[in-house]
């Protein structure tokens, strides 16, 4: 019996280290310790052995079993390692470039817009969207722009023919014409007509002017406008907002100043200058960045707000202009050509 065991172990010692695959291992394992395996058969012979021989034989079998188990474990571990090694393949060269394209980039206008919205969000302004096709009422009348105002002229504003029908756009009067909005201020009107003050909104969006395209003009461009309506809003509050916005956007040292100006929908009205010495490609002390003012009482009256109770300010500027200033871009058309060598510079 002992000799048989030794022979079996010797055979295993030779056989197991030579096993190559897990399948071979399983087969070999079955030959030894499977239900009909050689070792199993030997163990089953225990019953036929005389009672007094059993302890000694049992010890022998246990020793053999332990040795066999070591052989099994060793072989399995070896095969497992070989499997992992086989999965790995040759060593990589970490310095080779990834063949995958990327990264993607958001457009610089999107980046500037989102940054402005984020800054304004902190001051309590939420984004409101409005239609780009508008009607004369929302774009002009409600903003205190008289019927004869040159801005309304077909020379400066894109209109649609009388037969045009826009489905998801409300008109104030049936006879007013559809047009492409010339400013995002129309969103202010829609917001005020829909809700009650206090209101604090920012409306970024695309606007249209019937104008020659050149380095500084584009048939469509983007504006971002803020409107705040509350009780006791003052010129000083407006200045505070602008100081905050531009310090947050361009750095703490950025200053703003007002110059008197004229807009139909604000009174008083101002143009806003930025101290610009730290901006790229600017060699002036001050540079114009946008327009603003206190909401004209006539605008409030038009949307049904009592001008004696409510006051507010509005501020608007061109996104392209802001992006051009921030990044030192000298041609507005680059925004619309989408050359990837341009787009990839801002992400």
């Amino acid at each position: 019996m002992q000799a048989t065991l030794s022979a079996l172990l010797a055979k295993a010692t030779v056989e197991f280290p030579r096993l190559k695959s897990r399948a071979d291992f399983e087969a070999a394992k079955a030959r030894y310790v499977g239900p009909h395996g050689e070792f199993t058969v030997l163990m089953k012979q225990m019953g036929t052995v005389a009672k007094e021989q059993r302890p000694a034989l049992g010890r022998l079998i246990n020793e053999a079993k332990a040795q066999l188990q070591v052989q099994l474990d060793t072989a399995l571990a070896r095969i497992g390692e070989a499997e992992i090694a086989a999965q790995l393949g040759p060593a990589i060269d970490p310095t080779l470039p990834s063949p995958d394209t990327g990264p993607g980039t958001a457009h610089p206008l999107t980046l500037v817009r989102e940054e402005m919205c984020r800054i304004l969000r902190k001051a309590g302004f939420t984004v409101v969207e409005g239609p780009e096709v508008e009607t004369e009422y929302y774009c002009f009348d409600a903003l205190n722009t008289p019927a004869e105002h040159p801005a309304r002229d077909a020379q400066d504003t894109f209109y649609f023919p009388g037969k045009a029908r826009f489905g998801n756009l409300t008109k104030k009067t049936p006879e007013e014409k559809y047009l492409l909005r010339t400013h995002t201020s129309s969103v202010q009107i829609r917001t005020m007509l829909k809700g009650e003050p206090p209101i604090r909104i920012v409306s970024p969006g695309r606007v249209y002017r019937r104008d020659t395209s050149d380095a500084t003009h584009s048939a469509n461009f983007h504006q971002i406008e803020c409107l705040y309506v509350d009780k006791n809003v003052t010129v000083r509050d407006l200045k505070a907002l602008l100081d905050y916005i531009f310090a947050a956007l361009l750095g703490k040292d950025t200053m703003t100043r007002f110059r008197p100006h004229y807009f139909g929908y604000t009174e008083p009205s101002f143009e806003v200058d930025l101290s610009a010495q730290h901006l790229p490609k600017v060699n002036k002390d001050w540079i114009e960045i946008g327009g603003c003012g206190m909401v004209d009482p006539a605008v409030f009256a038009g949307v049904g707000y009592d001008p004696d109770v409510w006051s507010g300010y509005a501020f608007g500027m061109g996104l392209e202009r802001l992006a051009m200033l921030m990044y030192g871009i000298d041609d507005i058309r680059y925004f619309y050509q989408n050359d990837l060598r341009f787009l990839k510079q801002f992400a």
């Binding site: 993607g104 309590g124 649609f160 019937r210 009482p297 925004f335």
Partner: protein, 823 residues
């Protein structure tokens, strides 16, 4: 609008430097678009000097070393090195002393030139900002006093400011207007020109010069004034007037025309001078033109008029397009002896409409359409008569003929200083406000105590029609106080409860973030597209629905119904510049048809392609239909649309440039959204000049679709046990869509297992074989293409064996080729 500093000085003291003056104009609310210096600018430390001696520079052939006497105040005799040929002893020349700043910002310093000390510079005309020679020194009058500042020796120069006047301030379209503003800023008085001619309104006209004036269209011409002058002598206007006009860019013509132009630029009232002998019948008629009536204007162009246009005519013909431009044959010329001076108030809208219609503008039209002050019409006419009589002689004959009248003007605004302070948000004293208003010629006519405190009654002059409400005076006070003095403050504001960003903004943000994360580059294209492009890519109907009434250029005439066209253009640009671009996207508005109307939609679109020029050392799979589908499913999900639950329809025929058999669509505008994706038509893409196989996807939705809040999600119970997988191979007609087979299988499986030991959780396609079956059979109906589908009904709570009687039920009558056993 050009303003001359010397001209302004006639009405207001201007001691400020050019920079100070520019700043004043700017902060009064008028943007300075340009500043031009004419002649000698104000110069500090430039004086008259006399060259005493001249010797050749020891170390330079072309230089001389001179001693120059600049007078005792400036330090007596100095040594100056000079390169000019004419620095002969005895010449008196301008000398810039150290510290002087010459035009162009050149600062003079004492220095050594080739080893010789030089304490200043002798100047050429060019170096002083004067036109002309820079080869030699400016030789001054030998009598010019040594040491005298050069500005006192040479005639004054002028500074011309080109300013932008906002449409609310037509009163500043003249020198008096700006003088009033500057006087308020500088706190000086305005000196108005003295007018001698009184202008009698009564008397008998001289019928041989001007019989009378008739106004047939008083609604367009509420006031018309004519004054006849006899015996004028046409000639050049006086030098001072020519100088004024030339400074602001107006060509002097003769003493009559120039007088009219001068008054327009002085007081803002355009005037016209008729040659009396050219007025047929010696009567002026203000009337509407007849349709088709012709007039050759001063610029020698024939204008065709219509019945909405106002003309000044005689009994035979139109002479002038009212307020805009005179006729070529009606103006004054060298033979003119008798004239009629016109001063009128024309309705601004009428002038604007005619000017636009004719495409004809003029200084006169510009002022009339913005509104002149009818209260000063007569005054301007009287001022012009003074100037004409002085420059051209002659005598006024007959009375001032006036038709219509000035509407009475008395506007007052009541305002409390507290109101102004409340609007400003900072302290300005009552006195500062009062001074500002009075300085602007807005006199406080009354001060009264009211419940709201001290109140002022402020009188508004007729030329300030832009002022009508208390808020308007807030701006006036602030302008004079200084808008740059608004104090800083902390930005505050209570949070607003319903403050969330617009769903459109949220969607765009999420879509952008996703696509950027998927290596797409965002592009931005114009909304307006060309008509032929829409006809090719979309439909003939779209070209009529989406057309603008007044496009500016041909290739931007229509609203875009899809973002794909713009993205293609971006792709094309990059390809043409050799820039590899394979993934582009855009978000923005598109315009789509629904029930005969155009709907403005929120949209996202993208294109991805394999770029053969973009080489990589390790190959990656090329994009395909299902890559696009994956992106669109995620984008649709952001809009609350479960694309997997929607019916996807393969695109048939030529539909919006999608390739038949390689693309699909889901959703319709009536549901508020539509999705289209797949391969862009290869031929059309190539025709558009873009290379490659372009896979694209678009999602368009009505804004209100996004605005509708999605219902709250509810938790669904789920199994805590691992699922049992079952692989099935099914034979179906190749033409049957997979989704249909899957749906049939799922329905049958669910029915078969209803109430049973397990439920079918899901069925996934995991392999597709198309072709003749290896088992040799053809499909019963004889179609050649057959498709074996491996379907995987997943269940749990029980084992599922081949001999389970439920299995064939689960297959819903679909022929099972093989049951592949447990996966």
């Amino acid at each position: 609008m050009k303003l001359s500093r010397n001209w302004l000085r006639q009405y207001v003291r201007l001691y400020s430097t050019t920079e100070e003056l520019q700043r004043a104009i700017t902060f009064l609310g008028f943007e300075v678009e340009g500043v031009r210096q004419i002649g000698l600018p104000p110069l500090e430390s430039v004086v008259v000097g006399e060259i005493k001696t001249r010797v050749k520079h020891p170390d330079a052939d072309k230089l001389s070393v001179c001693t120059v006497d600049v007078g005792p105040v400036a330090g007596g005799v100095r040594t100056i090195v000079c390169g000019a040929h004419n620095c002969e002893a005895g010449n008196r020349v301008p000398v810039a002393l150290p510290g002087a700043v010459l035009p162009g910002g050149f600062t003079i310093k004492s220095s050594k030139i080739r080893g010789q000390q030089s304490d200043g510079m002798m100047c050429s005309p060019d170096e002083l900002g004067l036109s002309g020679d820079h080869a030699g020194l400016l030789i001054l009058d030998p009598a010019a006093p040594i040491g005298q500042p050069i500005n006192e020796t040479l005639p004054d120069g002028d500074t011309v400011f080109d300013i932008e006047v906002t449409p609310n301030r037509p009163d500043v379209l003249c020198h008096i207007g700006m003088a009033r503003e500057l006087a308020a800023w500088l706190k000086y008085d305005v000196r108005f020109p003295e007018i001698k001619f009184k202008g009698q309104l009564t008397g008998t006209p001289r019928p041989d010069i001007l019989k009378g004036i008739r106004v047939d269209a008083p609604e367009d011409c509420p006031l018309y004034v004519g004054i006849a002058v006899s015996g004028v002598k046409v000639g050049p206007s006086p030098a001072w007037m020519q100088e004024r006009l030339a400074a602001v860019g107006m060509r002097p013509i003769n003493n009559l025309v120039d007088a009219g132009n001068f008054v327009m630029l002085e007081l803002g009232q355009p005037l016209h001078v008729f040659d009396a002998k050219k007025i047929t019948g010696r009567s002026l008629i203000v009337r509407r033109a007849t349709d088709g009536e012709k007039l050759v204007t001063l610029d020698e162009k024939e204008r065709t008029l219509n019945s909405r246009m106002l003309v000044i005519a005689d009994e035979a013909k139109p002479l002038v397009i009212a307020g805009i431009m005179g006729g070529h044959d009606a103006g004054v010329d060298a033979t003119t002896t008798d004239i009629v001076l016109e001063a009128a108030y024309f309705r601004p809208q009428s002038i604007r409409a005619t000017s636009r219609r004719l495409g004809l503008t003029s200084d006169s039209a510009y002022r009339f359409e913005r509104g002149v002050d009818p209260q000063s019409t007569l005054e301007a006419a009287r001022r012009a008569i003074d100037l004409i009589l002085a420059a051209a002689g002659g005598t006024v004959v007959g009375p001032v003929l006036q038709v219509g009248g000035e509407r009475r003007w008395s506007r007052k605004i009541n305002v409390t200083p507290d109101y102004i302070r409340a609007k400003l948000g900072f302290d300005v004293t009552d006195d500062e406000m009062r001074d500002a208003l009075i300085g602007l010629h807005l006199p406080i006519k009354g001060e009264q105590e009211t419940k709201a405190g001290l109140e002022w009654t402020v009188a508004i002059p007729s030329y300030r029609r832009d002022l009508g409400r208390p808020i308007d005076l807030v701006e006036e006070v602030l302008r004079i106080y200084g808008t740059d003095r608004v104090p800083a403050a902390v930005c505050t504001g209570p949070a607003l409860a319903d403050g969330d960003d617009d769903p459109i903004a949220l969607f765009n943000r999420r879509a952008t973030d996703y696509l950027v994360g998927q290596h797409f580059h965002e592009v931005v294209n114009y909304t307006l597209r060309a008509q032929p492009e829409l006809a090719t890519w979309v439909s003939a109907a779209a070209t009529s629905e989406l057309a603008l009434a007044n496009p500016f250029v041909d290739d931007q005439s229509h609203l875009r119904p899809t973002l794909i066209l713009g993205i293609l253009e971006s792709l094309k640009l990059n390809q043409s510049r050799g820039v590899p671009a394979s993934r582009l996207f855009e978000t923005g508005r598109v315009f789509m048809e629904l029930n005969g109307t155009v709907q403005e939609c929120v949209a996202v679109g993208f294109v991805l392609c394999h770029n053969p020029k973009e080489r990589a050392w390790l190959a990656r799979p090329e994009p395909d239909f299902y890559a696009v589908k994956h992106h669109l499913e995620i984008l649709a999900q952001m809009a609350g649309i479960d694309l997997a639950a929607q019916e996807l329809v393969p695109v048939r025929g030529a539909y919006w440039g999608w390739q038949e058999g390689q693309s699909a669509a889901a959703g319709e505008m009536k549901d508020g959204w539509t999705v289209r994706f797949g391969l862009l038509n290869l031929g059309m893409v190539r025709a558009a000049g873009v290379e490659g196989k372009l896979w694209a996807g678009t999602l368009a939705l009505l804004p209100q679709k996004l605005t509708t809040p999605a219902g709250h999600r509810r938790y669904q119970p789920f199994s805590l046990f691992p699922a049992a997988l079952r692989d099935l191979a099914l034979v179906v007609d190749a033409a049957r869509p997979a989704a249909e087979v899957r749906a049939q299988l799922l329905a049958a499986a669910r029915a078969a297992t209803a109430g049973g030991a397990f439920t079918v959780e899901s069925i996934e396609v995991f392999d597709v074989y198309t072709g003749v079956l290896p088992l040799g059979g053809t499909h019963a109906d004889g179609r050649r293409g057959q498709r074996g589908l491996g379907e995987n009904p997943t269940g749990h709570r029980g084992r599922w064996n081949d001999d389970d009687p439920g299995l064939s039920d689960c297959c819903g009558g679909l022929p099972v080729v093989r049951s592949l056993g447990e996966g």
